[in-house]
Symmetry: C2
């Protein structure tokens, strides 16, 4: 506990923000963004509930906390594949999540569940139509879960399950608690672009300016959001994105952007090409005069980070580093 | 805002708890209870993710906040059908949810997502086995959503969609936001008893005493939990349960229990028999010397409440009434 408090206090640069101090919340709550009604004749196969009716789908769940006397712009935390907003909460080994850290650092903090995951609804119609023979079995939505064994390499805990990279900082002693965070992923069953993207745009506009912090599968979403509409996007932090923008990069010029990777990337056949592609994107952005920085943590002396760096043992030090980056590169002023 | 603050302050019986005052949190976070590993050959039909592997399922997501200087035992808020823990957060019309109200009233507050819903994972294996022809279409999990039209009568906004009961207090002007809270329900696809029940028991034991507050579909869960193991169950509040216990009632004697119904119950063919059955249960409990009370709100002069009474316009007054009931009937002492 003492060590944790010291780590948080050091990371935030002020003793008063230590974990043992009460968290002072000005306001908190939750709401939805987006969503639309669809009519269906296959909502249910159970006698207690009518099969015919209207449901609302494609909305995005948002939970927020605003600290007393906020010092920064709102940050929006966007989870990746096969996970939910839980990604940013208490770490598997029971340490403070980035959600609370950012609030303690003075940032109003918004945590979303991507459309079709967590508290954001899916439409059961195609499943029920398959069940009752109205559609062929192949029309079952392409829903997938990442198994522990495959996820192990994807999350770069080690080269393959159950081998561990030397010095790797994910809290493997709490591995079971991490597996419990993983959920079935409906992303491939959703309309394109993923409705999470326009919902993020609506959220950014509603907030009058937010820093979009995305991860992995959602790494590209802030860029897709900016391509839709730059309004309300104060900065982009894309952590270990599945891919960086290609094609016309002009929509991203002028938006302070950080692309952040952890360790062992070049050892991973999945991630090495993605880093290479992001390096090419960052170089291209610099030629265009974009405020874009790509940071690979071991290249600045921070070693051992997995793909789930917001849960690694040094997660709060990384969050502190990120807060410093944001304070240096982002004008903390709401657009009204 | 002023009216809201006055309502909260009156409900809590102390001016210092008004909403405009900062919320002082001693600790907050989230974790999972329960869960077990299953092996599958049908986790995915996408090339990016292996079909074979292990996933963890049947865990229950728990989010909590502990106020500074807690005065009461932990309360555990358990949502009902086709909903998630969102039930207890910000109301559709943007007022404080019971989650925050209980924290402000001094109770450590735990909000769960039932197993298989929200941030609690489902197993996609049966869907993928149907999709690939390994199982017949009829093996598709019986997943259902309640359509707006059917839900209208179930939630007793009115006798049938879109008619409204006289004086009904649900904030219909924010109806769209409520529809967005509704999710597809996997309860009928889960093992029996619902794994949420043993998870609630584990949570109660872990907390060393908690007041289980359930709603509708989950109304029976605290009783099922007590039948498993009374340890850690300090009280039961069952709001508009789908059914009350039958058979051997001895496990519930000695547990302070409140069964609470709103208004218009006798006008509803769905709910009238349930209230009648719960009245019979409460009478039987009184014969056994059980500390059981059944309250129908209009019978104590509180009128207009729908099935979603934790979101009705008078939701905070009801929460204040409930806090008073708890303080009168429950010994606020942890079992260690």
């Amino acid at each position: 506990m003492i060590l944790r408090n010291i780590a948080v206090a050091l990371a935030l640069g002020l003793a008063s923000a230590a974990h043992a101090d009460p968290l002072m919340i000005e306001s908190q709550g939750s709401f939805f963004i987006g969503g639309h009604d669809v009519k269906s004749d296959a909502l249910s196969g159970l006698s207690a509930y009518d099969a015919a009716g209207t449901v609302t789908v494609d909305q995005m769940y948002v939970h927020y906390q605003v600290p007393v006397a906020p010092k920064g712009l709102p940050v929006t935390l966007i989870h990746g594949c096969c996970l939910t907003g839980k990604t940013w909460e208490t770490t598997p080994d029971g340490r403070m999540g980035w959600d609370e850290f950012f609030v303690r650092a003075g940032f109003p903090t918004y945590v979303i569940d991507q459309v079709g995951r967590g508290r954001s609804a899916i439409d059961p119609t195609p499943m029920n139509e398959v069940k009752t023979g109205k559609r062929p079995p192949s029309d079952t939505p392409p829903v997938f879960s990442a198994g522990h064994e495959a996820a192990w390499a994807i999350f770069r805990f080690g080269p393959k399950y159950p081998e561990v990279y030397d010095g790797m900082q994910f809290p493997l002693q709490a591995q079971e608690e991490f597996w419990k965070q993983m959920v079935a992923d409906w992303a491939a069953a959703l309309p394109r672009p993923n409705p999470t993207v326009p919902a993020l745009s609506q959220l950014a506009i509603k907030l009058g300016g937010t820093i979009l912090i995305s991860h992995s599968q959602s790494g590209i979403y802030p860029f897709q959001t900016a391509a839709l509409n730059r309004q309300g996007i104060a900065a982009i932090v894309s952590i270990e994105p599945g891919g960086c923008p290609t094609g016309d990069l002009k929509p991203y010029v002028g938006i302070p952007t950080l692309v952040l990777f952890g360790d062992y990337v070049d050892l991973s056949p999945r991630w090495a090409p993605r880093l290479k592609q992001c390096r090419a994107y960052a170089e291209e952005m610099q030629k265009l005069g974009g405020k874009t920085e790509l940071v690979v943590l071991p290249e600045i002396g921070i070693k051992g980070n997995s793909h789930m760096l917001m849960q690694d043992r040094n997660s709060l030090e990384l969050a502190g580093w990120l807060v410093a980056w944001l304070n240096k590169h982002v004008e903390m002023k709401r657009q009204q």
